[in-house]
Amino acid sequence: MEHFIALVTKPDNVPILAMLFLIPYFMWLSYKQARQTDKTGVPSDAALNDKVYVWPYLCRNEFVCAIIVMLVLGIWSITIDAPLEEPSDPTKTPNPSKAPWYFLALQEMLVYFDPWIAGVVLPGFIIAGLIAIPYIDINPKGKGYYTLKERPFALAVFCFGFIILWIVLMIVGTFLRGPGWNLFAPWEKWDPHLVVPLTNVNLSYLFGIREAATANFFGFAVVAGYFALGPIFYFWKRGTSRFLQELGLVRYVIVSFLFLSMLALPIKMALRLGLKIKYVWVSPWFNI
């Protein structure tokens, strides 16, 4: 437990502690406003044409906000010293070696996917997906105010991605990953000699497939099926709905592809942790 307290109070981990309070606070703040709008309706035009002068009203707010933030930063800087460890030594690898805290969700993905997917492809999808959001979310409602009712799908997807897959994984990576990148509960001692038996098998193996070429084809089929079947089925059922008509085929394909790529992470985590599955698709060139 002591080492856990030492870890939590490490100067560089202060931002993560701050996030533990800031995220719930802002979730609550926005939830309250969303409930309010959903109950009383979107504020009318009249209220909006209500303009105020930037000087003094906005500048005063900015000034007060800047003073408060500088006070917090000042106290933070006076009370907590930035860390400085031993001089760098390429021959002494610390165990565990961790990236800066804001990249730990990415480092966490390395457990479940090979480096080229976890380190390059999925981050690429995150960036491309973020940029694509305004162009694939064609819902004109919920612009410029908090709401839950008017865009439940968009909010659910983004909050899941941001809160669970980014913030929570970052916290897990910082506080619960120990030597050998093994998971340790807060009260467990970090044991650098801990040997975790690797009994993971590939999905094709579970299905009794032993031959490489067949396994390769099987894996391809599973991955292709994962990305194709759901969207095709949904399109077949609801393709004529007004929403999908407006969305159009191209956007529909992009949305479902990005959505399923995001879900692939928790699915792979569940497969690994629950069923001890290493790879879904093993091919001569790469493994997924």
Binding site: M19, A47, L58, S77, I80, L84, P90, G119, I131, P140
Partner: protein, 256 residues
């Protein structure tokens, strides 16, 4: 009583001494307020007027502004740190130690720079979260959201390049771990899938980033220049674009 006070005020503000100091009074008029913003080089990023709800902390959480403030703090403290820091493997670590133990307020300077940088990463993430929750990326702000995403990456990269500079174990290994993934870039990393045979450890993307096959003195210099010159410049240009677009897209979003 009131009359008396007014008379006294008048007497004072009309006196020769007062008027020698303050050349004219301050009119409480809209014209005055507008000019105050338009004629000030720092304030003129703002429009003269904004809708009332844009002032509301509960709407914007002030997070975009706080991100910018943190950037300014890191810029000022960063320049001061540059006076004491030499980006070479011999000196880097010692200079940081020297800064901590011998320079007056050196430790405070270093702390402020580091915590403001962390603060900027926190606030930029929360800013993005707020912009999503209020649906502010929707037409006509699609492009500004895209600029924002690039700014998010730039913020991470600023912080990451700075992380190496103390040249201690923490710095060295965090950057080693962080850049190792570049090895696996498909086609461009020597351990990535689909990489042609000519791509080796000594010419792949990771090599370009590190200026070597491992993190070394040339990496330190490279990251220093990226951190102190190239990335801050890029960030400033993108922020200028971002703020300009906030205005051109009709100010802070609101229900129309």
């Amino acid at each position: 009583m009131n009359e008396e006070r007014k008379g006294l005020k008048e007497k004072i503000t009309k006196s020769d001494i007062w008027r020698s100091i303050f050349r004219h009074g301050y009119e409480n008029t809209g014209r005055r307020y507008t000019l105050q913003v338009l004629q000030n080089v720092w304030l003129h990023l703002h429009p003269p007027r904004v809708s009332r709800h844009a002032l509301n902390f509960r709407f914007t959480w002030c997070m975009g502004g706080i991100t910018f403030l943190m950037f300014l703090v890191t810029a000022v403290t960063g320049v001061l740190l540059m006076f004491y820091y030499r980006p070479t493997a011999e000196y880097a670590f010692r200079d940081v130690q020297y800064l901590e133990f011998d320079i007056p307020f050196g430790m405070l300077l270093r702390n402020m720079h580091r915590w403001a940088a962390h603060g900027m990463v926190i606030s930029v993430m929360l800013h993005m979260f707020r912009v999503f929750l209020t649906g502010s990326y929707k037409k006509p702000r699609e492009f500004n959201w895209a600029v924002g995403v690039i700014l998010l990456l730039v913020t991470f990269f600023l912080s990451f390049t700075g992380y190496l500079l103390p040249w201690d174990q923490l710095a060295f290994w965090a950057v080693t771990v962080g850049t190792n993934m570049a090895r696996a870039t498909p086609g461009l990393g020597h351990e990535g899938p689909f990489a042609p045979d000519v791509v080796t450890q000594a010419n792949d993307v990771r090599f370009a980033l590190l200026a070597g096959t491992i993190v070394g003195p040339s990496t330190l210099l490279r990251f220093y220049i990226l951190h102190c010159v190239a990335v801050p410049l890029l960030a400033s240009v993108l922020m200028a674009l971002h703020f300009w677009r906030v205005r051109k897209d009709g100010g802070i979003s609101g229900p129309l």
